[in-house]
Symmetry: C2
Subunit: 252 residues, 2 copies
DNA sequence: CGGCGTTTTGACAGGCTTCAAGGGCCGTGG
DNA sequence: CCACGGCCCTTGAAGCCTGTCAAAACGCCG
């Protein structure tokens, strides 16, 4: 399932040529920062779609950054109920909790073939010692992650099925747009309605009916994995809250 | 509503005498760390119960730590629906998001008279530069906060009313216990059923009925703000924390 | 063409919200 | 001392939203 172990060093994209760095939504690095991160990254990991590369209860020795592809963080209850906590897109950091705490309290699964930058837990403290600016960035990323979950929590707790569905779709659409994944207001969403249901805290059946309702209103369309926003204003209105604009953010 | 502004420096508890430092659940400081934090703390803030000292949409110039009392983080929707994100107890950090981002995306309200240590946003970078160990701590706190919200998210998304109520009560009880606030398996909870409902994402009426059900099972008691765990094992079982609940799932 | 995962649909039950009203406790003021 | 108002807790009834069950349609791929 998981490829990329045991490969000799240096076989992966060097950070200077990182395809993400050029994105306007990411802050720029100084030459020193770039040099440090380049040697901080020890490998690149390729994960197949559907594989979980971090598991609830396991200890994590590495910290990851998504280079390409989609993933999602989730927790399972003993009886099989699953809650998707949030989605990880390129430039997102994954596994920080597992690096800092003793063990992971959630799992992470790839939605598409996934490429990850791998950083060793053992050198994280070096980063904190030598590059406070990068340490600051990591904290910033953790705080942003928390913000996203906060918003999600409001959805599950206080928004109706229709509102929360519209909100999540809009939210994902926006995040994807920042990464240039959207073309003509359309995008290939790599997840199924079951994934959406598990993220929304709803049953599959009701998720389906809610989506139909949303599509009937001509706010969005979603056929064969291709999602499109047809009426942005209407969608925002249904979501009950415009998704806040985002500023340039750090990326390690 | 808010007292504590304009008071001359040095009128507050110095960090060497911090009543929290002795707690076994907190790590010890080196002399250097203690000295730094002592000068990092510029004031102490007293907030009345019921007052919000951080507000959604406002810019936060300070970072806080709870010295004594209870508070809660929450978000409001335009129509008045409120979702409590989590609770803050002594030794918890508050306002990090507001310090790092440009503005707060949630509010924080005191549940009891509250004492806060005040740290200036402007000197946070000094901390990162001079004390990587403390920077690491802050990141750790942010990651832990995220863990708590993750768990809460699972409750709202996938647990039944009874399960999530039991889970939250147990969770708060445990956090309070670490701080020595529990005596004889009982504690004074400073919130109303309305607060609980807003945290659980349920209506007040249903929260009340669920609590009654929990009390009828003799797992807990809660009269006049005094909460007690009567049957710890039963409570854990209802919360789904230990014993897996068997529900029918397809298996071929 | 057949098999499998995904999407759809309908029927039904029940969990949860809403509405409404009563009761208890406590501080204030007549 | 008692009446009153305010806040909180409690309870019952009605109905909608959402979950569960069941089955069929669809689309993709070997």
């Amino acid at each position: 399932m998981i490829v990329g172990n045991g490969r000799p060093r240096g076989q992966f994209t060097p950070c200077e040529q990182c395809p993400l760095r050029a994105l306007p939504c990411l802050r720029e690095f100084t030459a020193e920062e770039l040099a440090f991160v380049k040697q901080f990254k020890i490998d690149e990991l390729h994960v197949d779609a559907g594989a979980s590369f971090l598991r609830q209860g396991a200890r994590a020795d590495h910290l990851y950054t998504v280079l390409s592809g989609w993933a999602f963080r989730y927790k399972m209850l003993d009886d099989g109920r699953r809650q998707i906590l949030n989605f990880a897109l390129p430039a997102d950091m994954v596994g920080l909790q597992g690096t800092l705490m003793h063990e992971m309290e959630h799992s992470v699964e790839a939605l598409t073939p996934l490429t990850l930058c791998v950083f060793p837990r053992s050198k994280l403290y070096d980063l904190y010692s030598q590059f406070p600016s990068l340490a600051f960035d990591i904290t910033w990323l953790a705080a942003r992650e928390e913000q996203l979950i906060d918003e999600h929590l409001v959805s599950l707790g206080r928004r109706t099925a229709l509102e929360r569905t519209a909100f999540l779709l809009l939210h994902l659409f926006e995040r994807a747009r920042e990464l240039n994944l959207v073309k003509d207001n359309a995008i290939q969403f790599p997840f199924t309605q079951q994934h959406l249901a598990d993220a929304l805290g709803m049953s599959l059946v009701h998720t389906n009916k809610t989506l139909k309702r949303l599509m009937a209103s001509k706010a969005v369309s979603w056929k064969g994995r291709v999602f499109a926003v047809l009426d942005r204003h209407l969608l925002e209105q249904v979501a009950g809250d415009e998704v806040p604009k985002r500023r340039p953010r750090p990326f390690i």
